[in-house]
Assembly symmetry: C2
Homo-oligomer: 436 residues x 2
Amino acid sequence: MRIEPRLLKGFRDFLPSQEAVRKTLIRRLEDSFASFGFEPIDTPILEYTDVLLGKGGGETDKQVYRFTDHGSRDVAMRFDLTVPFARFMALHRNELYLPFKRFHVNKVFRGENTQRGRYREFTQCDFDIVGTDSVSADLEIITMIHHSFEVLGVPGVSIHVSHRGVFNRLLQRHGVAERSEEVLRTVDKIRKIGRDRTLAELSEMVTADTAAEILQFVEATGSMSEVIDTMERLLGEPAPETAHLRTIADALTALGLADRIVIDPSITRGLDYYTGVVFETFLDGIEAIGSVCSGGRYDDLVSLYSKESMPGVGASIGLDRLIAALEELDAAVTAPHSADVLITMQDPGLLTHYHALAATLREAGIRCEVYPDARKLGQQFAFAERKGIPLALICGESERAAGTVNLRILGDRTSLDGLGTDAAVARILAIVGGSA
Amino acid sequence: MRIEPRLLKGFRDFLPSQEAVRKTLIRRLEDSFASFGFEPIDTPILEYTDVLLGKGGGETDKQVYRFTDHGSRDVAMRFDLTVPFARFMALHRNELYLPFKRFHVNKVFRGENTQRGRYREFTQCDFDIVGTDSVSADLEIITMIHHSFEVLGVPGVSIHVSHRGVFNRLLQRHGVAERSEEVLRTVDKIRKIGRDRTLAELSEMVTADTAAEILQFVEATGSMSEVIDTMERLLGEPAPETAHLRTIADALTALGLADRIVIDPSITRGLDYYTGVVFETFLDGIEAIGSVCSGGRYDDLVSLYSKESMPGVGASIGLDRLIAALEELDAAVTAPHSADVLITMQDPGLLTHYHALAATLREAGIRCEVYPDARKLGQQFAFAERKGIPLALICGESERAAGTVNLRILGDRTSLDGLGTDAAVARILAIVGGSA
């Protein structure tokens, strides 16, 4: 009995055209991270459930793929790369040096409602600097985000930066520090629910005056230093956290990034986890899609597993959302075509000659393949076009005897006949150049 | 309450030194595959259990991580990359062209007994050509295996090739074709259990004469053409399958690979699945570790899911075993050091200057990072050495004012002082050269 070849809802295959783009994006991101001294790590997809979930039972927990394994262990598939990183740092503290900079690009799993266009298996690109609370580390993360989107060829990107400590001071000043969690969560939704509903929701938590001032705070706009001025005015005085933001703003300005950075007090990152700078990244023209790279500074990564305290700063790119955004911008990264040259099979008796030609081309850095069957040339050309191969070599017995090949440029259906091997290699390199 | 940061048995973390090597190996393999026109795909880690296991209940099935998901679906984690590829081809047949050449490098999961040094999460690198039964495809897979180990820098590799059809003919000639499965399984173990036990086991299945002749067959040695001669002698006549092997042998000889290929009739690849050429790959000096790349030709990839027939040829590299083998050979691939230069922090007031220097270096293709805290220089150098960074830049207020930096070569504890930025970039590139 045959089985229907089907996929689970929320899970995807990646065809070559898609997977080649993903791999190209990931390589560029990894090379960008490495150029800042970040190093790769990996962790298991499966871990003990208590290690991943702690003792909690929150909203995330319900989405976790959790089961009992052959050895009656309670296990779960990782749902993010942050929790495994914390466990990793607690376990390997003595094998590592601080500050430690890692990146981790891999899949995570959440049994989310797929109706909202979410996937249940998706790829995250996380990067963090842990073991230092230096402003230099905050600055480095922000410049690395900028650099990474630049090497991806993204046309325009804005990194919105704020500081949780500034917000907390504002709430303290108004005597509503104990409501901070719900206030932050409400403010975090302002882009989604709009100004009026945010104000209405805030007014149910705090006095109308306080709500108005919170809104004034989160809506502050202007140059980086103007917004920091507004923050200080609303706080009544400068604070260490505004000074910290000012140091970052001045450095980013001196580095020529002023037009790419926005000090945006509405950025709060809902989670309790963050304690210092927080940031989100928007692509020009499609801000509505939301942040494609978010993160911030936290006081303590490993407290669930260790009594050691370990501050850090980091961010995460959701690869799937990024690809969707790039497609919407028509800025999708294009992968190199699959091979540069198809060596057609004219005569099965020349099998060895074709493979020897292929070896010569490859030696010169040309990606090529031998068509395996002696079909009509038109069929072999059609195959090459279908696969996105731009060139074909044709060689029959008379060409082999003469030591030549004919080079077919499939795009414009022209041919260069009777080329010696060296001439053919030179021609091919001139045509495909960059891709080899 | 704290949670002990622990891993499941058979699952591993990869620290930067390990993960950088894995990523380097994978990139080289993927680039090798791409240079032969192979294209990347990916499939989900989680699939419907019946899609992965069919209706069977064999030995593998017991090792599969299988559970019921939130939607009461019977799901399983993939245990190899072959079954998902078959399902992929059946599902996407109309979006693809044949012959289709794919590679797939990713993790698979088996709840195996870890006492034999096996892991429960491990990485496979699979590559296949499907949709053709051409000898050219067989030849291409074998030359690609050779090329791939060459780009990995493996000192010596032997690819052992045979043909299942030749073996089947021998068994038919002796009238024991119906015992072929058990005979093949026994012969497959000859390296492990030795000649005498193999002969003894065979003698329980077939007559002593037949057993002796089977052993004569599998022990045939000599040049490729000598072994094919022996095969034909034992078959009593040439056969299409020996002619096929001879075509491959002649082509490989003409391609200069004769000293790397062994026609080895003892290679049978236990599985029923294979129908044509079969091959295993051994590293010189550590043959005992077993094959690091195995595969062969099969008649039908997709029969479980489709009535279409789809022949193919492919092989798989076990990345973990390969890395263990390379370590044993002291031929381990070394990853590039984590960054080329550490820009030390002498004076926190120069924060922006340090990050501007970093941007300039990065622009020139130099991987660098700014040390985030103004610690003693000795501590910053020690950090660089710990992380494998070969160079450090030192710049205080007087150097900044003079527009210079001091370059420290950490390995030999020498310094080049008072370099202008351009001179420093040139020096650094001259020293780290290849890695950038």
